[in-house]
């Protein structure tokens, strides 16, 4: 009982820490609006004057302007559309492994980065949602806490279940995880990605140790569920082979993203998260300008 409460408390504390960190991160990020529509519409700001056409609503007529000229002029405003930002953080337990006491776990990095993007989206008056459960959504800074708890309690769907999860609505989809599964399976899980009004960003969070395997001596490795293990008698012997395997996995993943039109960004835990966040904003801006 006590352990349960303790855990609950710890989770909640973590969620708040993450939220706080994400908020700070977002507030220091340079993020010009990343999705202006550039066409006449229902927005607030002035867009253009135009001659009245029979289909136009009469309340758009600018009478003062029309009085000064011979034609009837209407005033158009720029179209604005509230977008949705959809977030997902991989809930698998491998994300929680902390390889060095001074480095945060991958889950932490993923949470902070996604939530920081969420805060930025809120500044654009967007809605931030969690993939898999639409009810968890934030329209203001205050309700972001729900999202943070949601991720901290690992209520997001597993990566394998993502292909069966209906992705409602258009907008930006940010998927954060370590993506260590074989590339074929990753491809299968990302089958939604080809949809034209959905944009995907893959935030690949890795620990530096997972890249280099920097251990010495005899080590008994086991997987995150601790169900199988492997003893390696002299780790430096195998680290070159391991790095080779890892690099090929990363290449395969990048190719896959390029093919599917998915934006890909890698973050190594322990590195500056602001840098990664800025890179993400940059990527998204490029993307929207390109589109």
């Amino acid at each position: 009982m006590w352990a349960f409460f303790h855990q609950a408390k710890e989770t909640s504390q973590n969620a708040e820490d993450v939220l706080d960190q994400a908020n700070r991160l977002a507030s220091h990020a340079y993020a010009p609006g990343f999705h202006a529509a550039r066409k006449a519409g229902q927005g607030e700001s002035f867009w253009q004057f135009r001659r009245y056409l029979p289909d136009d609503p009469r309340r758009d007529i600018d009478w003062r302007k029309s009085a000064r000229s011979e034609a009837t002029i209407i005033r158009q405003r720029e179209d604005q559309k509230a977008q949705s930002l959809h977030l997902w953080v991989d809930p698998n337990s491998g994300m929680d492994i902390s390889y060095a006491s001074k480095r945060p776990a991958k889950t932490h990095c993923a949470n902070v980065l996604t939530l920081a993007l969420g805060f930025l989206a809120l500044r654009q008056h967007d809605i931030v949602r969690s993939i898999g459960s639409d009810s968890v959504a934030a329209r203001s800074d205050q309700s972001m806490a729900d999202l943070a708890h949601h991720f901290e309690q690992k209520r997001a769907p597993n990566f394998a279940d993502l292909q069966n999860t209906p992705l409602s609505g258009s907008g930006l989809y940010v998927l954060a995880g370590d993506f260590l599964e074989p590339p074929e399976r990753i491809e299968k899980n990302l089958k939604h990605a080809g949809h034209p009004d959905k944009k995907f960003l893959l935030l690949h969070c890795l620990d530096p140790d997972e890249l280099t395997l920097p251990y010495t001596g005899r080590v008994l490795f086991s997987n995150s569920a601790e169900e199988s293990s492997q003893r390696i008698d002299h780790v430096p012997d195998v680290s070159a082979a391991y790095q080779e395997k890892m690099q090929s996995h990363l290449r395969a993943l990048e190719e896959l993203c390029a093919a599917q039109g998915i934006l890909y960004l890698r973050h190594l835990c322990g590195e500056d998260m602001a840098k990664t966040l800025n890179a993400a904003i940059h990527l998204l801006n490029e993307e929207s300008r390109g589109a």
Partner: protein
């Protein structure tokens, strides 16, 4: 260092063969790999098919290996029972009779004797033989008598030896012989006699019995250089003799300390000993010599090294017959002013009416009267019978005496009128003192010619003055006359006690005369009770310290003077007819004989052995344990066990290592379970000691007289301790009011606010709020502690009747007022006084020393104890005694 190792022997040498297994152990430890590190690794998938070509040589660091082998080595050596300085001689397999002398002379080297005994016991026990034990000094009835104990095991013998008490009298070899014959001993028994090197009575019979029953006898004692010393009085006054049984091979330097009754050192003298007897006549200043009550050989620590002397005389109580209180008399004019100053060194002077002195069971030894007595015939009868039963009446001449001349209260018949030798109408010169008559108490005083008498009352020369005159003026007229009356004395000084008639009261001779007369009264009591018993009041124990005797020992004068010291006549102070008499060991023992003189040649005489065996097993086990702990710590550091796991273990270990912390809490438990009297610890050590002892005495008095039975005395620190357990807290403030921290103040405030009572004692006999620095500090303290308004205690206050009915509240002083909270309804949270009660409770003497001998309590000490009892009652029962219910009882006790 090397010699240390060469001197180690082993009792189980075969166990050392286990050391041969060490290389094997080394090998095993090397091939057994340490456990691999475990890492949970998310990209485990990538590692699946990888195998390392080379294997990591799995090694424990060499120094950890060495550490563990060292632990094993220590354990193996411990099993081999290492012994330092193992005796080389083959262990003679024979049972051992160990004789351990425990008389007065054993105390000097007792620790060493015990060590020697243990050594012999462990050697014998190792060979598997029985041990028999015999002591030599007779024991009091309620303690273990001399007996032959055995056969004992090593452990039994060890515990017996630690429990042997030492006695302040010599060994009794007759008793020891009897005890020796109570048991059959094995035929081949060997005897080791651990003695002192000196004999004050000859052990011939014992030696014969011993030789008869024992195979071989060796006598072992300390070297001559440290043999026990005996301090005796020599023939001349102020000359002492130090005796040792053998002459020293080289100079032995000792210091004699001359102490007064309260144990304060007044004088010390160094000397060095070579011969068997050394005489010493220290040049002690005369004013000190009278006060010396014991002489110690410094650091000797035996009863023989202490010589008791009669010491200071007891203070006398003297009454001055007067209608006035002493406080009401005029200084420099009234006679009592001079008398009080002359008598104050050795007597207490009290003024009062004659009837009052005669009515109560008077403590007064001497009554002094000046001038006319003006008493009724009945009172006169009483006075005469008082004198006849041993009182001394000292009268001085004065005005208006003529109508009294006929009464029976003068030693000689007086001529009417008085002679005036100086004045406007006289031609005579004042007469000077001529001589003190031979064979009178005053004859040893010098006749000071400068004493001149200008007015005197003359004795009638028609009657015989022979034998009655003690001092004469140069014209042959008597100055002091005296006559025995019954067993008392009538003494008349023919001039006045004040200097209006002569300059005698201004001279030192006045003091001398009064002192001699005061001594007279004590002589009287001695001769009066010629057939009493001498009762032991303070026992000199084997260590040369005073103890309160637990059995009632009374001996006759004959025994007191001549009996050899022993169970029935131990050394110490005896009370006889209200006076104390010393009985020192040295003055009652015969000449000391050395072991060589006293023992036959068939007994081999040895000195204490220096090379005692020391078992090192425990040392090696401790070393192994320490190394093991170190290994464990290293393991913790290496395996990176998180601190969260290691901390509880370290915490438990530190708890084990810090028993003091646990003890502090235990104290609270003790204070909570039984009532304790408490005082605030101050920075002054003497103050604390006095308070401790004072409260201990008070606690004893409470247990004896009331239903309060305090469990003890607590010295508390307001900073840290919980105060709630104590009904009242005594705070001896001493010279300066201490500054308390805010924390301590808060603690005290809450104590006072929740029903506690703080008894503050300024210990200066004043406790008045004036303009001195101390008063200022006191006032600040009162502000800081939120004292309620205080007032001087009123006569009818409940504190004055909570157990005893009290008039005043004396301690060492009696003059200071007692301040108490002005509200009557509840117990005052603070009492403030300055009478230094702790000193009175502790029987503290004027010079500040603690009195080692509990002499008769003075009235003031008794009253102080009563005050202490009342305070405790008041703190515990509150205003219960103020209830009207008690009034009839109180009136009854007041005799109304």
């Amino acid at each position: 260092m090397i010699s240390f190792f060469t001197q180690i022997g082993f009792l189980n040498p075969w166990a050392l063969s286990a050391l041969l297994t060490l290389p094997a152990l080394w090998f095993i430890l090397r091939i057994l790999p340490p456990a691999p590190r475990r890492i949970i690794f998310a990209p485990f998938r990538f590692l699946k098919d990888l195998t390392a070509q080379a294997k990591t040589p799995s090694h424990t660091p060499w120094w950890i290996l060495l550490l563990r082998l060292l632990i094993l080595t220590c354990l193996i050596i411990a099993f081999a029972r290492p012994v330092f300085q193992l005796s080389k001689d083959p262990v003679a397999s024979a049972p051992l009779l160990l004789i351990l002398e425990n008389g007065w002379d054993a105390a000097a080297n007792w620790k060493e004797a015990q060590r020697q005994a243990r050594d012999a016991i462990s050697k014998t026990a190792r060979a598997g033989d029985d041990i028999y034990l015999l002591t030599t000094a007779p024991a009091p009835k309620n303690e273990k008598q001399i007996s032959l104990q055995g056969p004992l095991t090593q452990a039994q013998a060890f515990s017996e030896i630690s429990a042997i008490p030492l006695y302040p009298w010599p060994s009794d070899f007759n008793e020891t012989t009897k005890a020796l014959n109570t048991k059959d001993l094995p035929a081949n028994i060997k005897t080791l006699w651990i003695g002192t090197g000196s004999f004050s009575n000859m052990p011939e019979r014992f030696v014969n019995a011993l030789l008869e029953r024992s195979d071989s006898v060796s006598y072992m004692s300390c070297p001559a250089q440290s043999c026990p010393l005996l301090l005796r009085s020599a023939d001349q006054e102020h000359e002492y003799m130090i005796e040792q049984s053998v002459s020293s091979p080289q100079k032995r330097n000792i210091t004699l300390d001359f102490l007064n009754k309260s144990g304060k050192r007044l004088y010390s003298e160094k000397t060095s000993l070579i011969n068997k007897r050394t005489f010493i006549k220290p040049d002690i200043p005369a004013e000190i010599s009278g006060k010396i009550s014991r002489i110690d050989i410094r650091n000797e620590g035996t009863a023989g090294g202490v010589l008791l002397l009669p010491g200071e005389k007891q203070r006398k109580n003297i009454g001055f017959i007067s209608a006035k209180e002493i406080e009401d008399t005029k200084p420099y004019i009234d006679g009592i002013f001079y008398l009080q100053r002359a008598l104050s060194p050795y007597a207490d002077l009290r003024a009062g009416r004659l009837q009052a002195f005669l009515k109560e069971q008077t403590e007064e030894d001497i009554l002094i009267a000046q001038g006319a007595l003006n008493i009724s015939p009945q009172t006169k009868e009483k006075l005469i019978s008082w004198i006849e039963s041993g009182g001394v009446l000292l009268r001085f001449a004065g005005e208006n005496m003529e109508e009294n001349y006929e009464d029976a209260l003068f030693p000689v018949k007086l001529r009417s009128g008085q002679r005036s030798l100086e004045g406007a109408l006289t031609w005579d010169e004042p007469k000077t003192l001529s001589r003190f008559e031979e064979n009178t108490p005053l004859s040893s005083l010098p006749a000071d010619q400068s004493i001149s008498v200008s007015r005197q009352v003359l004795a009638d020369p028609a009657f015989s003055l022979e034998g009655k005159v003690w001092a004469t003026l140069d014209d042959g007229t008597p100055l002091i006359t005296a006559a025995p009356r019954g067993s008392g004395w009538l003494i008349f000084v023919h001039t006045s006690a004040a200097p209006e008639w002569s300059n005698l009261p201004l001279s030192g001779l006045y003091v001398g005369i009064l002192q001699k007369i005061t001594d007279l009264s004590s002589n009287k009591t001695q001769t009066q009770n010629g057939k009493g018993f001498y009762k032991l009041s303070a026992l000199l124990n084997a260590d040369g310290r005073f103890e309160t005797p637990d059995t009632n020992i009374e001996i006759t004068r004959e025994e007191f003077l001549n009996a050899p010291p022993g169970l029935n006549a131990p050394p110490g102070f005896y009370i006889y007819a209200d006076a104390e008499y010393p009985r020192a060991l040295g003055n009652h023992l015969p000449r000391l004989t050395s072991a060589r003189e006293a023992l036959p040649n068939s007994i081999s005489i040895l000195s204490f052995a220096n090379d005692l065996e020391k078992d090192l097993t425990a040392l090696f086990i401790a070393a192994a344990f320490a190394l093991f702990l170190f290994d464990w710590l290293v393991m913790i550091a290496l395996s990176r066990i998180p601190m969260r796991t290691a901390l509880p273990v370290i915490f438990v270990l530190s708890l084990v290592c810090l028993p003091n912390a646990a003890k502090a809490q235990n104290n609270d438990l003790i204070y909570a379970n039984t009532l304790h009297l408490a005082y605030l610890k101050t920075e002054n050590f003497q103050n604390n000691q006095a308070a401790q002892r004072g409260l201990e005495n008070l606690a004893r008095a409470l247990s004896e007289r009331t239903s309060i039975e305090p469990g003890g005395v607590a010295a508390i620190n307001p900073e840290t301790d919980t105060l709630a357990f104590f009904p009242f807290i005594y705070w001896p403030i001493g010279q300066t009011v201490p500054k308390l921290s805010e924390n301590a103040l808060e603690n005290l405030r809450s104590y006072m606010a929740h029903g506690g009572t703080l008894l503050i004692d300024t210990q200066d006999g004043r406790a008045r709020f004036d303009f001195s620095d101390k008063s200022k500090a006191l006032r600040e303290l009162a502000m800081a502690l939120d004292f309620p308004p205080l007032q001087m205690i009123q006569k009818e206050h409940v504190l004055n009747k909570s157990f005893y009915l009290l008039e005043d509240h004396p301690g060492r002083y009696a003059s200071a007022p007692l301040w108490i909270a002005s509200g009557k309804s509840e117990v005052s949270p603070v009492l403030l006084g300055g009478n230094d009660w702790a000193a009175a409770w502790a029987n503290l003497r004027e010079d500040g020393g603690l009195d080692p001998i509990l002499t008769g309590k003075t009235r003031r000490e008794e009253m102080a104890l009563r005050f202490g009892i009342n305070i405790t009652m008041y703190a515990l029962t509150g205003t219960y005694k103020a209830d009207q219910v008690h009034i009839p009882h109180i009136l009854k006790r007041l005799g109304k």
